[in-house]
């Protein structure tokens, strides 16, 4: 099976990135400008004091609701939550399972 890249994949990646940033700002009560400045290497779990285990649970539940994905216990590990880039890659993999 050949996967054809869709013409709007770059646009949808940007939309997902923006949505994920909004979601992080909402859950953690962070300033939107601060979160919009996140890059792939920006640290999350262990770096943001707001992100404790309750907040991680809230973040994952909100990702399920807003992105329409299901996150299993086994999906959740330290690496996936370590940086914004890792979380974005995880969300993308859930939305486009290959």
């Amino acid at each position: 099976m050949t996967i054809m890249p869709t013409p709007d994949s770059a646009a949808s990646d940007a939309a997902l990135e923006s949505e994920l940033k909004d979601l992080i700002a909402d859950v953690l009560g962070l300033d939107r400008a601060q979160v919009q400045a996140f890059g792939p290497g920006s640290g999350l779990f262990g770096h943001l004091p707001e992100l404790d285990s309750m907040a991680v649970a809230g973040l994952l539940t909100e990702m399920e609701d807003r992105l329409g994905i299901v996150i299993e216990d086994d999906d959740v590990d330290g690496a996936m939550l370590e940086t914004f880039g890792a979380l974005l890659a995880f969300a993308k993999s859930k939305l486009d399972p290959l």
Partner: protein, 231 residues
């Protein structure tokens, strides 16, 4: 003027089964709003918001009453003994004892709203979603402590023996009932989604917080509904 007073839960055969606290703005006015708050951790996150909405309604001439249910806040009853059905009965008893004319149910509070009262469900939360979030928080916290647990395994344990989730002790009957509990608005009750308030729900925040604009908006929607506008 905020008032704290007690209300009595009637025993099935008459008399008093229990006494619980109520926070209210009670000036014996025509509209008396029963407020059924969010549950557990969300109750803490939304406590100030809830009171701020009540304060705004008081200023607009509306009485509001926020009773403790058995097992919550100052209650002497153990939380682990509470059931969904028991809380529904307590909410109905509170509506009667406090002479409520309307109801505002917040988040999982919507699972308890007496269907005969007109009113609103704000950002109603279903039982399964509530449990899923609490189970997930416990699994993540356990992993941090090096204990391997799964939501599935904990769910089985909860159905058989009850569970402590985020510090809240839930009995088997409560867990079994929540697994199937969906909020159903009564004929004169309407849903107010979070999107109607602008911004993100305060229950999402890692710390309790307040948003005056959201409280303004929810109070305005209730006042508009009372005035006969579409809520």
């Amino acid at each position: 003027m905020t008032l704290c007073f007690t209300w009595n839960i009637p025993a099935p055969g008459g008399g008093v089964a229990g006494e619980e606290l109520c926070v209210g703005f009670d000036r014996d006015r025509a509209v008396r709003l029963l407020v059924l708050p969010a549950w557990f951790d969300e109750a803490n996150k939304l406590r100030r918001f809830t009171l701020e909405v009540m304060r705004r309604l008081d200023g607009a001439g509306i009485d509001s009453l926020l009773p403790d249910l058995p097992g919550c806040n100052e209650s002497l009853a153990p939380l682990v003994d509470q059931t969904l059905e028991g809380w529904r009965e307590a909410a109905a008893a509170a509506a009667e004892a406090l002479r409520a004319t309307h109801v505002l149910a917040i988040r999982a509070g919507a699972l308890l709203a007496p269907s005969a009262l007109p009113g609103w469900h704000y950002a109603a939360q279903s039982g399964p979603k509530l449990l899923r979030g609490m189970l997930r928080a416990r699994v993540i916290a356990s992993r941090e402590s090096g204990i391997a647990e799964t939501s599935e395994g904990l769910g089985d344990e909860g159905r058989e023996r009850g569970l402590v989730l985020g510090g809240w002790a839930l009995g088997t009957a409560m867990i079994r009932a929540l697994e199937r509990a969906e909020p159903v608005p009564g004929p004169a009750q309407s849903a107010i989604p979070q999107s109607a308030l602008g911004g993100a729900g305060l229950w999402l925040r890692a710390e309790p917080d307040h948003d005056a604009a959201q409280a303004d908006r929810l109070a305005a929607l209730i006042l508009g509904g009372l005035a006969g506008d579409a809520p």
